[in-house]
Amino acid sequence: MQETKIERSESAVAPPKADLWGWLDRRTGVDAALRSALYEPIPGGAHFAYVFGSGLLFIFISQVITGIFLALYYVPSADHAHTTVSYITKAVTAGSFLRSLHAYGASAMIIVLLLHLSQTYIYGSYKGPREILWVSGCVLFALVLGMAFTGYLLPWDQRAYFATAVGTNAASEVPLIGETLKRMMRGGTEMGTLTISRFFVAHVFFIPACIFVLVAAHILLFRKAGAAGPPDEDPYEPKKKTELFYPRQVLMDLSLTALLIIGLGALCFFAPMQLGPPANPIDAQYIPRPEWYYLPIFQWLKYWHGAASVVGILIIPMVLAVAIVTLPFFDRSVERRPWKRPIAMGSYGFVLFALVGLGLRSQYLDSLDPSVAQQLAKQKSEEQEYMRKPFEPELSAASLAAANTALADPQAAKGKAIFDSQSCNACHGDGGVGTAAAPALVGISAKYSPEQLAHLFQHPTVRMAGGGMPPINLPPDDMKSLIAYVQSLK
């Protein structure tokens, strides 16, 4: 039945062929599928306003492909995540480029998503038999925000760690179930390796699976309802002369794709994504800031404390979300022209204004407080400094065990007690592995002789002193033990 229909309408376009394509089509129906995809009629003709849907699909496919490739080297665990991302960024060929493409792709996706949503809203394209189509789009929006949130943590650098700590903390503000929700997200009361596992599974398996299903549903529902056309078109029974999707609309869609490729490619090439120093949970100074698309929410949460927080954190966002999702169910008029829909356009303008305003306000407040601005600048320079360092492989657990057996040396063991009691480990980390505050001491015996170490301990250089290293004055025997221990760190 399908065959005859297609032959009737398309016989002038493509007579049955005896070549390879004809054979493939007889076996698979690929020609008919392609035709039905390309010959979608658009009431009122092709227009640049309709390009955002395919743009989103393109970025999504790009995210899937780059994501799969990143997983070739990434390990989702608190002790390896940062090392493996550092390896991708600093060692693997094209690694920095691909990681940047994936990270900036997330931002690009949200921008194009906002444009797609705005176009649909302003053109009133959610009207007519498109209620479920709209709802599926809303769910997709939430899923994409979920991808951005879960993916952000995975590099496990300072920025990622603290932004996610704040993000998951916000969940605990939800009345009654808040604390449970937070623990569910974190896999415990604190952020740790279980948090990475959870975020990784959500980011790589769970949410993408939902997105695949919903994108398919979204496209099917779109084809079922048909393209809505310009704002002065009837949402139920289009009356304007139609133009097929191919070729002009395809070319317009491709031009956005080309623009995205050039824009993202140039950005990733000339300003690749940075990676900061590894997450240091005890860094009390770090000021977390979310990615730009979460700034409005971040700023909004600041205004709500105590009993009123239920209103700001739960009720207002819920009302807004329900209003957006159910929009096509209560906005039933067939009027689509924006200038004839003052309430709809007014609310759109208000929400847009509020979001942009909140985001800018957050930026403005940061610039206002000199101590905050200074700390943020310091964090940025720490990131740049980390990026300049060459890749340092992670010392395997087996080696650490070997290093500990070196403590069979009683003098080194005594030195370890001094190291810990003098709080050297507070900055240099347990076992001298280093923290954000001070460098690692592991392997220092290769650089300095015991005599040089003794001198450095008693007379720290200007740079060491600047970082907070005090001169150490110990009885000669204790000093010897300390040096023996520091030298045993390998």
């Binding site: 376009v13 010959y39 009629p41 395919s54 090392t83 060692a91 060929t93 094209a94 492989p393």
Partner: protein, 193 residues
């Protein structure tokens, strides 16, 4: 790359509603355009896959596993040596993004041509650590009694070959060694792991 290609929805309306039935000349132009679009997409797709391929074949272009040379001591230390000298060297093995550091015992000795050479202390028989016996002036394995001369060549015992010499190099007057493991119980030196 546009979304249209992936849309498989079979919508009968879309077929019957076709407003334009293409003329032959228009049809020709369209199939030429189609070929152009397909070719262009294929080209851009190929261009985009370049970083993906480079990323995936990184282990083919660069070494991802490596065994670093370990410093043994300065050359002058060993010039006036009269018998094999024991040293503990640190072996650094790189495996992708991680490294393993371990300690191994080696002997610095002189070969038959009076050149410095470094011997692995691992017995080529079953892998026990072979010490230098000062009194008997030979290496004697404590496990099965294999004996080796000062330059590591085999005297007696169950081992099928002499002690294994390691690759050495000199950098800034420092003797460097590349520590490797060799297959046991065979007569030829054969690198493992």
């Amino acid at each position: 790359m546009g979304g249209g290609v992936l849309m498989y929805a079979e919508n009968p309306e879309s077929v019957t509603q076709n407003s334009t039935t293409a003329e032959p000349s228009l049809q020709k132009r369209r199939s030429f355009l189609g070929a152009l679009v397909a070719l262009g997409s294929a080209f851009v797709g190929a261009l985009l896959s370049v970083p993906l391929i480079r990323f995936a074949i990184f282990p083919l272009i660069r070494r991802t596993t490596d065994l670093k040379n370990s410093p043994v001591g300065s050359m002058s230390e060993f010039s006036s040596m009269t018998e094999p000298a024991m040293r503990t060297v640190q072996i650094e093995q790189i495996d992708g993004w991680r490294k393993t550091v371990s300690e191994k015992i080696v002997y610095i000795t002189k070969d038959q041509r009076n050149q410095l050479s470094v011997l692995s202390s691992i017995c080529p028989h079953l892998g026990c650590t072979v010490p230098w016996n000062k009194e008997k002036k030979q290496f004697i394995c404590p496990c099965h009694g294999g004996t080796f001369s000062a330059d590591g060549s085999r005297f007696s015992g169950p081992s099928q070959r002499g002690m294994d010499t390691l690759e050495t190099s000199v950098q800034d007057g420092q003797l460097q060694v590349r520590f490797q493991y060799f297959r046991q119980l065979v007569s030829d030196k054969e690198v493992v792991g």
